[in-house]
Symmetry: D2
Subunit: 309 residues, 4 copies
């Protein structure tokens, strides 16, 4: 199998990332390789060992996954070609035969603890929690009998020879994690009519209204921002870059012109890609922001330059 047909992902096996990756039809024909870190998964793409990598980028409860954001912003360039949304619900995985009353110690990733806290208070108030490096790692530790139960995705049970004792455990009713399929820079994913464009921009200088000015570049052209996160540039407190997702595809003229505006006013802009929205929601395009209106305006200007007003 060629490296192009290999997809890495944030492992180990049995994590939500693997479950997210398996929702992509193409995953059936790819070699799926778990990696120990987001950086490792992405580096395999950078070196050409893999054709793509699926990594988490945002969680509706925890926020942006800073490792991913920083790798995409500061590492060797990569681009996003797809996104996957996965509702996050946990199962309590135990060795076969274990009853709820047998569970004295539980484990899972620290992020899981927030999600299952209420369930624990109600059903296992006396259970002791210890954190594991990942949810899947927790499952492995239960397999090795070091804990009685692990909170992980229900899909992880067979991998570790465990059984779900309870499922659909979560706190916030709509906890969702967003994953992105990342590849080496290349042609953008084709526009579908329901797309998203991601980019990172560095303010050229630190004048107070700089962020405001850049948000105006979006607003004036009718481009909605879906996500904005500040990340430190590593050059001292108060020095930020901004990672954003905007509605629309770079080939939508309102989006293209906005990115041009950012490029002119920013120290640096890094395009992270235009790709289909997982929720398939087409944007409501404001009056004056459609491609047709951009074309009509361009025609008008061309005529005007010749005095045909």
């Amino acid at each position: 199998m060629s490296s192009a047909s290999r997809y890495t992902y944030l492992g180990p096996e049995g994590t939500f990332t693997e479950a997210a990756l398996r929702t992509l039809p193409e995953s059936a024909t790819r070699e799926l390789v778990p990696m120990v870190s987001v950086a490792a998964a992405l580096d395999a793409v950078r070196t050409g060992e893999a054709g793509g990598a699926l990594v988490p980028i945002e969680n509706s409860v925890e926020g942006g996954i800073t490792t991913t954001l920083d790798e995409l912003a500061f590492g060797a360039p990569l681009m996003i070609y797809r996104e996957v949304l996965l509702p996050i619900a946990f199962a309590l995985l135990v060795r076969p035969g274990t009853k709820l009353s047998d569970v004295k110690t539980v484990t899972g990733h620290p992020a899981a603890q927030v999600q299952v806290r209420q369930w624990l208070t109600k059903h296992l108030p006396d259970a002791a929690w210890e954190s594991a490096a990942s949810n899947a790692d927790g499952a492995r530790l239960v397999q090795e009998s070091r804990y009685d139960g692990a909170f992980a995705g229900e899909f992880a049970a067979p991998t570790y020879g465990l059984e779900p004792l309870a499922t659909e455990i979560h706190d916030a009713s709509n906890a969702t994690t967003r994953f992105v399929l990342v590849g080496r820079p290349g042609r953008l994913a084709a526009p579908t009519g329901a797309d998203k464009t991601s980019a990172v921009f560095w303010l050229r200088d630190d004048h107070p209204g700089a962020l405001l000015d850049l948000l105006q570049e979006f607003a004036i052209r009718g481009v909605n921002l879906m996500r904005i996160e500040s990340r430190p540039t590593g050059e001292g407190l108060g020095q930020y870059c901004f990672s954003v997702d905007a509605e629309g595809h770079l080939t939508d003229r309102r989006v293209g012109e906005t990115l041009l505006g950012l490029h002119r006013r920013c120290l640096k802009v890094r395009l992270l890609g235009s790709y289909p929205r997982a929720d398939e929601i087409a944007p409501v395009v404001r009056r004056g922001a459609s491609d047709e209106e951009f074309s009509a305006a361009a025609d008008w200007l061309n005529r005007a330059l010749d005095g045909r007003v």
Copy 2:
């Protein structure tokens, strides 16, 4: 002489408009025809009887010349190709032999009265003022002995057989009138590096922030507004269009993109032309607003669309 070589102007002979027109080198080779009104001067261009018309558009004391603004905004389309700035100073013109102590009655255009009021209070406190239809008309009435003195441009004296008794009379120290040379729509005047673009725009709807949004179109692209005037559209109180002058030529990319933005968001935009600034002051172009930066951004976007990020 062909009609193209005929220039009309707001008459009669001897007005400041004629003086302004004569500052244009080409006036030496044109037939200069005074007209009774701005509308008449412009209509002669519209019908093809004249190749151009010089009319006042703005005065630093009186403000916009509404007839001219409205003719350009609402009448059959015309375009501005040149502008002339003329400092306004009056002379008191009298019949030869008249002494200051002989002057009991004076005349002039109502706009002149504001300018000469202080001078009159000081030098001719008892003189009676009556308004004339134009400064030149006032001179004619003095020629006909209907008044003793007329306030007009010193240059009007020979035309009416008069003599200046006092010159350089004005109130506000830098009273200036701006005139525009108007022609039928055609190719824009070539860019000189110190240009001005004039346009009229009609707000698409009456939402409170509509004007603010449109000013943002200029600001976000680093285009300075030099003049903005609201004019009623005639469709009821509170219904305005806006007549503006912006720094730069329509072929400057920041100006072109601004006009495109206006066109998309406005009910209507009428381009009135791009033409050399009479003051020959080149604009200070803000960082990110130069043609070079527009080109660099476009190159970046083209590369980005191919994944060369």
Copy 3:
């Protein structure tokens, strides 16, 4: 009768200004004195000879009445206490017995000519027009048999012994003139719930976005602008002040805070008054802009300063 009970107005008798003044109930108990100019009408108030003056400030066809705007902006301070809206329609006034076919010469104020042009083309295509100093003056000239017909308000007919030969003549279907009742500075008119606040502001400096910044002061607090006009300050081309009407009363907290913001950022602000809207339309107050929300926020801040968060 005391001077306080005397109201001046832009005369002569029989003008639309007088008709507007007579729509005010209090006019029945005032001595109404026509003056030869807006300046004269206002000066009578300044000197104490009159308690109020009614002058036109804006016309839906002609735009702002610059004399009035400039007197209020630059003259000794006065304040607006009321406004009157008067639909403008002309009558053709003739001496009794005159038939339409007898009318060879017509007169009226130049502003009337625009309004009646279409009617003339249709009904009196061969009539010669000459301008008069005012519509009422035109009527007087007809009375003196110097013209055959005068365009003026129908109400002017009895004053000059004339008869209307045609009425309701106008071009733009809803031509309206707005008049203001001006007095010496004093307590604002009481808020009615449907008010308007007028002010003039001078930009502190000439930085390109200065006007934009000031419009933001209104927008951010949910105060709608109803009118904005630039007026030259007389200090050279490109030097403007802005005359505005905003929705709401100065005692509405959103309006008061906006004016405070203008005062801090402008070279100068002159308040022209808060007064009832003639159209009695109460504003739709945006969420977050009501007095209740201002109070709630102030309460919150006071608690916060004490740590009661």
Copy 4:
């Protein structure tokens, strides 16, 4: 010792947080209690067991400390009274007698790994890294001989009977962590002239320009934003609140009015406090934004309401 004189901090002993806490003069007279987590440190304040807690809030390399941000935004209200900036530099701590060539395994907090990576590549290219729960925990594991070296603050050496083999190790030249001293809500820290105000705001609705509008509330009043971070509200992807630091004290009128504006336009605002800036840099107050100008404007408005214009 009363609970008020007890300060908790993010433990264990020997972490940078303890070092930061010890820079506060008052720490000399307080009982300093390490806690296992930010939540535990803050909960001790909430329950009254401690009078204050020092926790990290932001790192110039890693970004916002999300646990702290979320505890302050979503947990029972607390307020910030002080901040501490601590330059972050690591020492390689070893058991006495260990030579560099003896070091085969090293440990430390994952965040430390980023900082020491370059140093490791150069000086210990073959050393194996394993992560510890905290830098101090890593030191303890070296004390227990489970690793040969730990990267931690030099100040941690005596606590664990270790010696620094190398010091001042860091990647980004100016890596700094910012800590805040948090207490129960109460009177704000007194203004010093160089202060900072922290708050969290929830957008009232999800209209595209909502963030832009709120940044305008700051900009229009001349209040500079020093930090802005979006945090998910837990109600689904795309639902954010914003945690900000603004220049100035809540008793500065420009800051107070800005917070009032936010309160009116936001679903919710939580004040996190006004407190002295650790860098003691006094803000440059823009023209029109000083307390004096706020007072002058208020005086003007009061006079205007009485007609003294």
